[in-house]
Symmetry: C2
Subunit: 303 residues, 2 copies
């Protein structure tokens, strides 16, 4: 950001240049733009209703804490959910838990904590060592299951996650590179709970970039995990895809936003191949699965 840039709205000193939207904004107008964009996203995709009890999955990173903060500002009834995965490398779980607890106490947000060690006597790295799956795969299963479990048990109406535009675009690209129609058809800012135990899942930051959520967190003095990515994700394909997309965006600003929003308009064409006829309830936890026991319960059993 060049020091001489001026806000295109008020000519004050600018803090950010958003090339994809042809905007250069000062702090005040950036925050206004950011909150408005979240509000519009919620309205456009019918993500949250005013009386909903919202559970926000908070990791301690910039995206989820920013999401929590904005939803509070917009007047929603928000609680947090932190899942302590027991990742000791780089003190990842300890540090991120501390950030989340600090944020919640400052903002007065009710915080649900699932501590895998206390709850199940395991950690994600331990489960991954005992599983043929990758750490990231095990972690995804654990987080999805526990988010669904807490949302269901505590009667939350909607589960919100901090996925930003860069996350969504990189996942979409990866799914297209592999023509994974099942995953493509389910990628949406709003994923209906299609089983009695599954909550509605929403992504209110999906039209805002990583750079924008970081700027929001910084200008709002949110103390977040600076090394955003988990230590296990280093060198992952998703990071390579993000970098590749950043180069394309740099060359052709707004490619990401157009790619994602146009995809959402045409998403239904990918839906034909979806088949839920083989789904039943897990005999241990009751959540949907295509086996007798769900992937989570099998992983925990082995751990």
């Amino acid at each position: 950001m060049k020091g001489k840039m001026r806000c295109t709205k008020c000519n004050e000193k600018a803090v950010i240049s958003i090339r994809s939207r042809h905007r250069i904004l000062c702090e005040k107008h950036f925050l206004e733009y950011f909150i408005n964009t979240v509000e519009q996203t919620i309205r456009k995709y019918s993500l949250i209703k005013k009386k909903d009890k919202v559970l926000v999955a908070v990791s301690g990173g910039k995206d989820s804490l920013t999401l929590c903060d904005v939803l509070l500002k917009l007047g929603y009834d928000v609680s947090g959910l932190y899942i302590d995965l027991g990742i000791e490398r780089q003190r990842y779980s300890k540090e991120s838990r501390r950030k989340v607890e600090k944020f919640s106490s400052v903002k007065g947000v009710e915080l649900n904590i699932v501590d895998l060690k206390k709850e199940y006597g395991v950690s994600v790295p331990l489960l991954a060592r005992r599983s043929p799956r990758s750490v990231c795969s095990v972690c995804g299963i654990v987080k999805r299951h526990e988010m669904n479990r807490i949302a269901f048990n505590n009667n939350y109406d909607v589960l919100a996650t901090g996925h930003n535009l860069d996350d969504e675009v990189s996942v979409l690209m990866s799914n297209l590179l592999h023509w994974n129609f099942d995953l493509i058809s389910r990628q949406s800012p709003r994923l209906e709970g299609w089983h009695p135990k599954l909550s509605l899942k929403v992504k209110p930051l999906c039209l805002l970039t990583e750079k924008e959520t970081a700027m929001y967190a910084i200008t709002n003095d949110i103390d977040y995990m600076l090394y955003d990515e988990c230590p296990f994700s280093e060198g992952s394909t998703s990071i390579t895809i993000k970098e590749a997309l950043n180069r394309i965006e740099d060359r052709s600003p707004s490619t990401k936003l157009y790619f994602y929003t146009e995809f959402l308009k045409h998403r239904s064409m990918f839906e034909s191949l979806h088949d839920r006829s083989r789904v039943s309830d897990c005999e241990v936890c009751g959540f949907p699965t295509t086996s007798k026991k769900c992937a989570f319960c099998r992983i925990i059993e082995r751990g």
Copy 2:
């Protein structure tokens, strides 16, 4: 290529490592593999019949000369078509024309030449200066029109171009980034001539990479244009996309091949939106257009 690598087929000194296909090959087995792959591509997608008169569009680059060479080896009835675009920058047209003429005389291939200056008194850079379109857009219109014209006027059965896997994948990615359904649905190794004046168009190198066609040209002593890309394409988005895809391929070998071949299996799902009801014949040249005059004739008129 490390000097110590050995051919996985015969243990001779290897000349190429093809990670996407888990092969390390010596010169002899590489050429065998390359020619077999072209033959299989032709068979799999029904590209050329043995008695077809084939017109190969040759630019002087490695891909089109390699294509011509392989089709000759496979015993097809091949002629070349060179379009002299009149690009003086970096002596591009002069040099490439010289390469094509040399190749054709050495191989005894009949060569059709369209010289834009002689034929229409213009060059692509001149036409582009007088048009609101970009140089690459004007050039594409001119080349497509002239390829179709020569193929039709000289009764060729099929028009073959040297597009390789990297070209196809980068175009596919670009069309997906823009959700250009019309272009996506028409991207195929075999594009039927859907109008009486349009020939069948085929891409027999579409499953081989840029690296592989370069290696074929080098090991066959084909004298080709070393700076493959036209001087006007420098810094183009397509090159950015190619680089981005190269990084992903480097991280996850065979991504490109899978992305492209799986796309071809599902291509028909993109076809619904195609509409040719508005097409009529150009009043000047008779080729299909959605206006009274086709884009080519309008550009030439202005030039």
